[in-house]
Symmetry: C2
Subunit: 301 residues, 2 copies
């Protein structure tokens, strides 16, 4: 593997025409970066693309992806369930290996500036890259969506960080930023009582008094006849996965309910897994030094 690895997970506003998404994916690929996954959702009319590579490789890949997206997607003809303000809607950069958050913030600013110049597209910096606190939250930036963008951009507090003060005619605007890896993690509870899942979600999520880096909602799983606490863990380094699991388990027990099983939606970073094992086994820590395959890779590099 490369010594320094950044991940980017651009979301584009096309989830129905496979050939369009494939053309965009092809435009992102290159020798020093690789698309390792992409998924399309027809209801949302949106695709999520996972690109990894060296910082310079990912930068080039994202510029290629943005150009192709703007060429092939026209938001004026776009409908879908998911909120969106751009053909290429959001571009986060995530540190994976040998790279700090600061590097990803610098990368997001550089890419944002280039996208604005090359494509005459307004760019908002968000999350860790945000230029003001109210721009940290992607939902706040996107509020009003593509259709409300022209008017919103005229407000002084919503002037873009880079690019023109009017939307791109077919491409709208894009949010570019840096964030930690997001783990999508669901825990099923052995009850059909939705109110239990909702109460547990409220107990563990940050917005209502719970753990700092947890977003959570309670859902019914109709077919299985049970309920689920569906979560996004936005910083596994500061709010470890095992702590979330233990708290969900404990809160569910208040209502006499057990955890049935849990599942990852998408991927989890390796160190997050090592941290779970270290906590459960009461190891002081579990660094790659202790892991056979990591030692082999280290010796070969």
């Amino acid at each position: 593997m490369w010594d320094r690895v950044v991940e980017s997970v651009p979301n584009i506003s096309e989830g129905r025409r496979r050939e369009v998404v494939e053309a965009v994916v092809a435009a992102a690929d290159g020798p020093d970066r690789k698309v390792i996954d992409f998924s399309m959702d027809a209801d949302h009319n949106r695709a999520v693309i996972t690109l990894v590579g060296t910082p310079a490789g990912v930068e080039e890949g994202i510029l290629g992806l943005a150009g192709k997206t703007l060429e092939l997607i026209d938001l004026r003809k776009h409908t879908g369930a998911h909120p969106r303000m751009g053909a290429v809607d959001v571009i986060p950069f995530i540190p994976v290996r040998g790279v700090e958050m600061e590097d990803c913030i610098a990368l997001s600013r550089r890419v944002g500036e280039k996208i604005a110049q090359e494509f005459d597209l307004p760019v908002y910096l968000y999350e860790e890259s945000a230029s003001s606190p109210q721009r940290r939250d992607l939902a706040a930036i996107r509020k009003g969506e593509f259709e409300g963008l022209a008017e919103k951009m005229l407000l002084p507090e919503w002037k873009p960080d880079f690019g023109p003060t009017r939307p791109h005619p077919s491409g709208g605007a894009v949010a570019v930023g840096a964030r930690e890896f997001l783990i999508a993690y669901n825990i099923e509870l052995a009850t059909s009582d939705l109110s239990v899942a909702k109460k547990v979600a409220r107990a563990v999520r940050h917005s209502s008094g719970g753990l700092r880096y947890v977003k959570a909602l309670g859902f019914p799983l109709e077919e299985k006849g049970v309920v689920q606490v569906s979560m996004n863990l936005t910083n596994f380094k500061k709010t470890p996965v095992i702590r979330v699991f233990e708290l969900v388990k404990r809160e569910a027990a208040r209502y006499g309910v057990n955890v049935l099983r849990s599942e990852l939606v998408g991927m989890i970073p390796r160190q997050a897994v090592y941290d779970v094992a270290a906590a459960c086994l009461q190891l002081d820590s579990l660094t790659p030094d202790y892991v056979l395959e990591d030692r082999i890779e280290e010796a070969l590099s």
Copy 2:
């Protein structure tokens, strides 16, 4: 990394002369295998070398190592606390990646036969490679040690699997075999009462009625004023690490004693870590498919 990886952990009867061990290590290294670790023990007068590589690479590395060991170590002049019967005492082969136990058994037989031919050294196959049940156990093969070898080998049941029916004059004999990865794992208990560690060890180890792939002893840690259950886990696939931890914890609780911490001595295979995390989070399983870095490596290979 290579697609197919075997590990071998030869033990040689030299733990005092560093230059000898380094020469042996150098003789094992090569382009398609790598010594990733070695440790020397002066009291035991013994060194443990960890070699990984492709099956063919490890085969060649072990033949180089055996030749250099026989050239530099004379057991007639050897004293040390650890039982030994050979200059190169024991050579296990362990499947790591893309390789099955059957492959390692075949490899051990091939290497055993070559060592016997090239160096006129008697070879006993042990563990998974053993030619009879009583030869599975290394301790049984080694009983009587170097000094008792000439006499023992004349017994029909102790005729070597390969090579002459008399010891190599300076090199004795060698045990060659295949086994699963061995995890050395210790759990400290929050008590100074050694009898608790001994009772817990007795409860969890196979030899006295416990888990199939656990060897365990209770020890005092004088300096810390606590006790330790010191274990070898000889098959983490069939007796998972978390089950051992949970049973130790449960047994210690019978005496009102908590687990203080635990530690790995040496390395642990990555899948063993993933299995701990899956069990603790109640995931159905945690395969490399879910792990970001594994997916990146897969995409790049």
